[in-house]
């Protein structure tokens, strides 16, 4: 019944709301190719001037880290508190450095 919709690819949409800001993930949509995904994204996510630039990426092309493995994945930086500014105790008069 809706086989055609099934064949459409899933795209993730990122929008830059204003020059100088990052592109931010805003949602997803089905489209047949990048060009059409851009047009759909414009119609769907920027009806009220929410953006000056749109990125579309095939969802399948995204490689993501697993949140459940976060503990060991980020482990290498967890034991390095000296990477934080607050690690260093300085005399009060100069502590606003």
């Amino acid at each position: 019944m809706t086989t055609a919709t099934e064949k459409l690819e899933l795209f993730e949409v990122f929008v830059r709301s204003k020059r100088g800001l990052d592109h931010k993930h805003i949602g997803s949509l089905h489209a047949e190719d990048h060009e059409q995904a851009l047009e759909y994204a414009r119609d769907c996510y920027t009806r009220r001037s929410e953006g000056v630039s749109i990125w579309v990426v095939k969802s399948n092309d995204i490689c993501a880290s697993q949140e459940d493995d976060a503990d060991c994945f980020y482990d290498p930086s967890d034991d390095k508190p000296y990477r934080h500014a607050t690690y260093y105790v300085l005399p009060d008069p100069v502590n606003n450095m």
């Binding site: 086989t3 055609a4 459409l8 949602g27 997803s28 089905h30 047949e32 119609d43 009806r47 949140e67």
Partner: protein, 314 residues
Amino acid sequence: MTLPQEENFMRKISAEEKIEPKDWMPDAYRKNLIRQISQHAHSEIIGMQPEGNWITRAPSLRRKAVLLSKVQDEAGHGLYLYSACETLGISRAEMIEQLQTGAAKYSSIFNYPTLTWADVGAIGWLVDGAAIVNQVSLQRTSYGPYSRGMIRICKEESFHQRQGYEAILALAKGSEGQKAMAQDALDRFYWPALMMFGPHDSDSAHSQKSMEWKIKRETNDDLRQKFIDQTVQQIEVLGLEHPDKAIKWNEERGHYDSSDLNWDEFWSVINGNGHCNRQRIEHHVAAHEEGEWVRDAITAYNEKKRAKQTQDAA
């Protein structure tokens, strides 16, 4: 016995952390969400029909542009919600099939007909108004994609309610005939709008679990009360009569007391016997089937393009 993953899930819920698509979740949580989000998405899509009915007959070019814009928003909201629901592992095609076969429901309010232009105003003001009360609360729902969808929808929804109120205000301040039309629309849509919040908490099959899992953040009755309270002054400003003759401020509760709803009507419309149930679904099926050739053309074009690319590469 609680499994460690279930403990971890409940820990996230009680710490107000969001659940994200790839996280482990209980089957019942997933099912409950699919039911609620798809029902919400279907409501946005079917909701285009009663208002779409008036696009070609809007009384001015301005009202027509506004209404077109609003109906287009509803299609967008349907898409946000279908996308959120798809992250739970159900396909768009399955959802559409469930809608068309009646396995999935949509908000009963859209089974009421739009008889006059004033109904379009009443829908924006009351129906979208009630939806906003519900959706503002759902911005804090525990499922991440649903919550983000709600935040986006709420940003757009305020225009819907304001344009509806403005349209009905124009009628309420107009001729005797126009004022009567506004009153009639209020009288017909007020009660079904209150029913949008669902049955009493005590009769609501899914409420308790949904509250525990923080899918829903406030109960049906609390949300309904909020809407009743905020609507009283809006009716006064219009200079119309309140449809509920029992409406009365209760100092002690800090809320308005009101009549109970006609629950027989509520259940009857939910079970398929509203004015427009059959028509809404028939129209959806027809639109879907008539659009088949467009989807086929897209697929054919895509295949042709891919074949050409392979040929060029060879």
